[in-house]
Symmetry: C2
Subunit: 160 residues, 2 copies
DNA sequence: TTAAATGCAAATGATTTGCTCTTGG
DNA sequence: CCAAGAGCAAATCATTTGCATTTAA
């Protein structure tokens, strides 16, 4: 890999839409820009909030539909957080996740050693492999300091 | 030998409940047995179905509450499928996942090379790491053969 | 006994869908 | 023009919660 050089480069979207015979709409363009232009792993809801400033009429279901389209085009990957809200990852370079089970944050990190590893035979023969990601879970530093309760014992957890 | 050799070894549950001061109920016991005794990564719904044969009065919400309790006790890990239903992994040994984005199956596989790897500094300093899992996604052989449609293009996907 | 746990039913909240109107090509 | 896409509202469906009843300790 060379260098990241990321300006919200819309050519990937243009290209993907053309190949698939899909129209290039204002909504798709802005959504794509928002996805690749900002870090983190936003949910559909968050993207909707942010984009309303630019496209006041944008509806939440269009965000959902567009994200599904992007996913089918391979432009984003829908990832699942410890929370039950879907989050979207538009970072095309191989990277891995640090997942905090307390605050549900997801941080990217790179781990070249994993990227370079060869899949074991069992996995290599499984089917068509599209990607590999390591998920490291635990409690982030911020949460460790903030709340020092040892374990979240009984039910009544998941304080939405 | 006179050792009973409990197939689904419930001692981990007993131990965990005692430490946490939780009661040992019929429901918890059976749910735990079902979890560790059968392979795969069942959803709450599936577990509920299976257990109704043994405990006809078992309610779905008890399954949810109990699974949340088990998770807090560290007995299972709630994993997220490409689908938006939560699945539960009670396999305590380190293992990794093969996720089919088409049929949403999740298969375990072992990958010692990853287990033996050291975390990069960024991850090591992130917080309290509880586990590491590699997620390999793609299309399983069965799905590749079955449906040979090239890509799932427009929306209207997610055929529940 | 008695706080914890279950079951039931109703609530919640994310995601999806039917249908009509709008718009890109 | 005219089918693909967007918007609106209503529907779904997994998951959660309030409350009365049961039960493990």
């Amino acid at each position: 890999m060379t260098r990241p050089v990321v300006a919200p480069d819309t050519s990937r979207l243009q290209e993907a839409c053309r190949r698939a015979g899909l129209r290039m709409t204002h909504q798709r363009l802005e959504l794509f820009r928002e996805l690749v232009g900002s870090p983190g792993h936003p949910s559909a809801e968050e993207l909707h909030q942010r984009l309303r400033e630019r496209i006041p009429t944008l509806s939440l279901d269009t965000v959902y539909r567009t994200l599904a389209t992007f996913e089918a085009l391979g432009l984003v990957r829908r990832i699942s957080s410890p929370d039950h809200v879907a989050r979207y990852d538009a970072n095309p370079s191989p990277h891995h996740h640090l997942v905090c089970v307390r605050c549900r944050s997801i941080e990217d990190f790179s781990w070249p050693a994993v990227d370079e590893l060869e899949l074991p035979p069992r996995a290599a023969g499984w089917g068509l492999v599209q990607g590999v990601r390591a998920e490291v879970w635990g409690v982030c530093s911020a949460c460790r300091q903030r709340a020092n309760r040892p374990v979240r014992l009984p039910p009544e957890n998941r304080g939405r």
